[in-house]
Assembly symmetry: none
Homo-oligomer: 424 residues x 2
């Protein structure tokens, strides 16, 4: 089953509203084993929609249309469907009565244009809308079937899940996801060459700063499982999840399993590391708090980093990271202290170039483990700031993860350190 | 000038990656007076891309293609452009040399497929990429011009802004932007009814958690300026910028003008407030650091919030916010202390419902000013967490802004407090 998406709306083309419906539909259909062959966005114009419907059904078996089903004059999807089907629009007495009843019960006047929502192309099937007023419509056109749903995300999702997907669903594709941190996409891809060579599976890489998500798909469950197992072996400790789970949740789970807590000391990230560790509900079970020592003297006064160390080497030094981790752990009474210091740019700091980052983890009664890395600087300094800060968070979380799992952490860092390649 | 967008990538159709590039391009082009007539997403398939290019240039004067310019085997946009132009691909010696140099300097082997990034359709113009490796390409095709840019957002944006928009820009529409914080979209729209009624201008509202961006456009510069002046007057102190400037930068500027600094104390935001204040280069001039006192006892031990206050009222109380602001200001030696405490959810805390938030600002020798607000909870608790945390940051920054400008802050808060409306 091949499906095309047709999203209707001037506001989508102008970027006033981001087209989240296309992404949701793409993922939902793919999961249901339906191939999405194209996505098209067109303005609120009847002729254009009619043409797009015809083109879509030359390529695909069905088209899902979102938007243009409301009750204002620029909602023309119904007219376009009728014209494409070569039929007339008929006002549905039951729908009309419902619209009038609603208006009366709310004590608001009914706009004449709102009655357009009761218009249905002859022969079309109404798809009940559990979340709103305008029903979806199923219309048989030359070449295939069109499913039209409102553009309001909640209504669109409800109608698609209840009435559209059950009709379209094919053989679900078998899929596995592996998520890795602190190893570049090209390194991941190089290691997975033997998996790429396996018959019947397809690999896709989705990089984000500091991370790569690998998706393995195929039609045969056992082949995909076998490929995933090989990939897992080849990637080793850099894989932090074998499902679609974020790194912060993995770290939270590892800490919770050990009844352990963490406190963070931040410099260049300004609070991002703490923000990441508190994004999920229930994070208070493992996250105690943090200190953002942005100004250098605060690293001494708030975290106990030796003043002579700061005077001799500045704030960007492995020993400073170690002292920050130890200091925050002790002061906040956490099982683990996690610290980052470095240069986000745009200018070098204390003689260190932009992208120089040291992360450290300290534990009760133990010394601190430090990893130093030179992160890639993309574009000019100001633009690189965001990715560098984000990558620093990923590297810190991954260091704690490897520490908790007693995994070798030199592997990823050896790859990373000195590697100036773009992160994907 | 009519432009069509063509986004290439299987991952977009499957919804693995959200097509943010289309939204960004739509907004950018619209602002530049260019009409976006259609948006199309196609898979990584040469034939399909060639067909889509031809169709696009039957409808539009130019097409902007994103994606498929990387160095892996599924990056086929270059091949498609060459085929659509009826020319061959030629390896560019300068680009190839640059790729080889990069690989050597990094000490990594150069994959043969990565050299594809040096391939250029004959006659195409390279569009330098300031943020990455693969250049953009400008190719003249039958029917119009194709601009191909990488799918990586930073690279796409840089090349479009520097090389594509200057060529495409039409008669710019006169435009003014007003940015407001802590007032709901419906309130902004109601206040601006007299501006809506003016002839020759069009208003658009772009809400985000805690903020509304108002854009006033028209063809006559003087009418737009007049409308903006009236809007400014009607919106009063809730306008934090009359240009496209983020709230954190406005606060930074106000602090810098006063040679003042700020330190933050955070609870539910976990570090987001500090992260926001350090997002921009040069933030160290005004931001000293912060304390994330996520666990309640840390509010006492790290910030000096009276233990009996915490015992009597819990952590979510106006007096706790005030004590946090005062405590962090004193301990970090800043001109101002800014603090937030509240309930991000999904569960109530200390008897306070989700969305209860107190923000406070303290200054040298002065008592703290506290504002309390009940933020709207959208969707189920877990989904509401992100927006509540984001709105809390906006409310805190806006309180400091109003404090620095000695603006009445009850106005926005009176509107906000008890108002359970969705933020947009």
């Amino acid at each position: 089953m091949r499906v095309e998406l047709l999203n209707v709306g001037d506001e989508l083309l102008r970027g006033d509203i981001f087209n989240g419906n296309a992404g949701w539909l793409g993922r939902r259909l793919t999961e249901a084993g339906v191939e999405v062959v194209r996505g098209v966005v067109v303005p609120d114009d009847t002729e254009t929609i009619v043409a797009a419907l015809r083109e879509a059904l030359e390529r695909a078996d069905a088209v899902i249309v979102t938007g243009g089903l409301g009750g204002t004059s620029d909602d023309v999807t119904r007219d376009a469907l009728a014209r494409a089907a070569g039929v007339a629009l008929r006002r549905d007495p039951a729908l009309e009565a419902r619209l009038r009843e609603r208006a009366v019960s709310r004590g608001v006047p009914l706009r004449e244009s709102a009655l357009r929502m009761a218009d249905v192309p002859e022969g079309a099937r109404r798809l009940p809308n559990p979340a709103g007023t305008a029903p979806g419509l199923r219309v048989v056109l030359p070449g295939g079937v069109a499913y039209a749903v409102p553009g309001v995300p909640e209504e669109m999702r409800a109608i698609v899940d209840e009435h559209v997907l059950p009709e379209l669903a094919g053989t679900p594709v078998a899929a596995r996801v592996l998520r890795t941190a602190t190893v570049w996409e090209s390194v991941v891809a190089a290691r997975l060459a033997p998996v790429e060579a396996l018959p019947g599976v397809r690999l896709a890489y989705y990089p984000s700063p500091g991370e790569v998500r690998v998706r393995i798909t195929g039609t045969a469950e056992d082949r995909v499982a076998e490929a995933a197992a090989l990939a897992r072996e080849l990637l080793g400790g850099s894989v932090y999840a074998e499902e679609d789970l974020d790194l912060d949740r993995v770290v939270h789970r590892l800490l919770a399993e050990r009844n352990a807590t963490v406190a963070v000391a931040e410099s260049l990230t300004g609070g991002l590391l703490g923000a990441e560790l508190t994004g999920m509900p229930g994070s208070s079970a493992t996250f105690l708090g943090g200190v953002v020592a942005y100004a250098t003297p605060l690293k001494h006064s708030l975290l106990g980093v030796p003043a002579d160390l700061l005077a001799a080497h500045g704030a960007v030094h492995p020993d400073v990271a170690a002292a920050m981790a130890t200091g925050v752990r002790e002061r906040l009474g956490a099982s683990y202290g996690l610290a980052v210091t470095g240069v986000a740019g745009p200018d070098p700091q204390d003689g260190q170039p932009v992208g120089t980052v040291h992360v450290a983890v300290a534990e009760t009664g133990g010394s601190a483990t430090v990893r130093s890395v030179r992160l890639p600087v993309a574009g000019d300094g100001e633009r690189a700031r965001g990715p560098i800060r984000r990558m620093t968070v990923v590297h810190a979380l991954d260091l704690l993860r490897r520490h908790l799992l007693t995994l070798d952490s030199s592997e990823s860092w050896a790859v990373t350190a000195g590697n100036r390649e773009e992160p994907g």
